[in-house]
Symmetry: C2
């Protein structure tokens, strides 16, 4: 049992909470660790309060305000290339909560992978991991260029192009940041432009991605 705050593992965890280095990341809480187990991930380190470490020391390295009962360190996994048939490509989605929520939507609606373009938040950061509710352990993530994503690539642009309609559930949904949207060169790299019909105001990136995934996959239901 770890009984000193000077323990090297606790120090490593503290460093990882600030900055992912060496390809590792931290997941906290029973739900996330259970999601990792269920998805077949093996932790590099796993600390349970009162068994492996004194509870107060674990709380001391927790990024959660309320402390935690279990915390584990994993090796990041990155896919080598975008996985289809349906992929999601994010451009400039800098909010880690949105990236995590999008991973959750991707899992719910069966997307093959989430592809991160420039300016996206780190999916292995604490906020993104928490917002993903463990989906990060199941949905492949990859850093890749739009051109390497499955065609047709469909740019979601507010109030432009056709109304988004699901086809056969194959292709890449391209989602930009909430305020700035997709830059022209990204739209130019897509085969189609579509929008989600809304009555007022805007959707954030996570809501738009979730609705688009829904639209694209629901017709696949029997």
């Amino acid at each position: 049992m770890i009984t000193s705050a000077q323990n090297p593992l606790l120090k490593e965890i503290k460093r990882l909470q600030r900055k992912r280095e060496g390809g590792r990341f931290v997941a906290e809480g029973e739900d996330l660790v259970a999601a990792a187990d269920a998805a077949g991930w093996r932790a590099v380190h796993r600390l349970e309060a009162g068994i492996d470490v004194e509870p107060a020391l674990l709380d001391g390295v927790s990024a959660l305000g309320s402390g935690t009962r279990v915390l584990a360190v994993y090796e990041q996994r990155w896919a080598e290339a975008p996985v289809g048939p349906l992929a999601l490509y994010l451009h400039g989605v800098g909010d880690p909560g949105n990236v995590g929520t999008i991973l959750r939507g991707a899992l719910a609606f069966g997307a093959g992978s989430v592809v991160l373009g420039p300016g996206c938040a780190d999916p292995y950061g604490g906020k993104a991991v928490r917002a993903s509710m463990g989906a990060l352990f199941s949905v492949p993530v990859v850093r890749a260029a739009l051109g390497d994503c499955p065609a047709p690539r469909i740019a979601l642009v507010a109030r432009e192009g056709a109304v988004l309609r699901g086809t056969d559930g194959a292709g890449t949904l391209v989602v930009g940041a909430e305020r700035t949207g997709l830059p022209d060169e990204v739209v130019a790299g897509c085969e189609a432009v579509a929008h989600i019909p809304i009555a007022g105001e805007s959707l954030n990136a996570a809501m738009a991605a979730t609705v688009a995934l829904y639209e694209f996959t629901k017709r696949l239901e029997p």
Copy 2:
């Protein structure tokens, strides 16, 4: 210009940040205050950094980690009864971020009102107001019973009932908490049960509500 932290208005704002009392609430940041302006809300108090108050003092009463440049106090508005034709009824949605995101979805897809049942987070709390991105100023909120909501009332229950399909965009979508779902007596008070088809895991309340609103309103498009 306010130059003392002992100023009574700053003290009132600090109290309101902790606990809504006297039917007032705080909105921070240019975007939220602009949304209130656009929706025709008049602030009871409005403080701009450097004009009405010393910037450091405004930061001192801000609930945002980064401080704020403008902050305003408003009177809460509650609708007297659920507004249709399409309403959203929330039961036990205790997370303020979800309540705010649902308000945003309600605005985007043109729901008439968001009805709060038992166990829902305060839509006028800081987190909910921020997550709503100002939608709170445009979508009527009301505390009311399920029986007072427009029929048909459709309970969203994971993997039960029919696949959710939009009809004529009228009725009430009934959404429960992520983990516990809807209690039996709430489902019994609905005319129908439906689910959103998903491939894996679950959707959170905000994602489910957003997708359901989309499904219900998209057929109204020309």
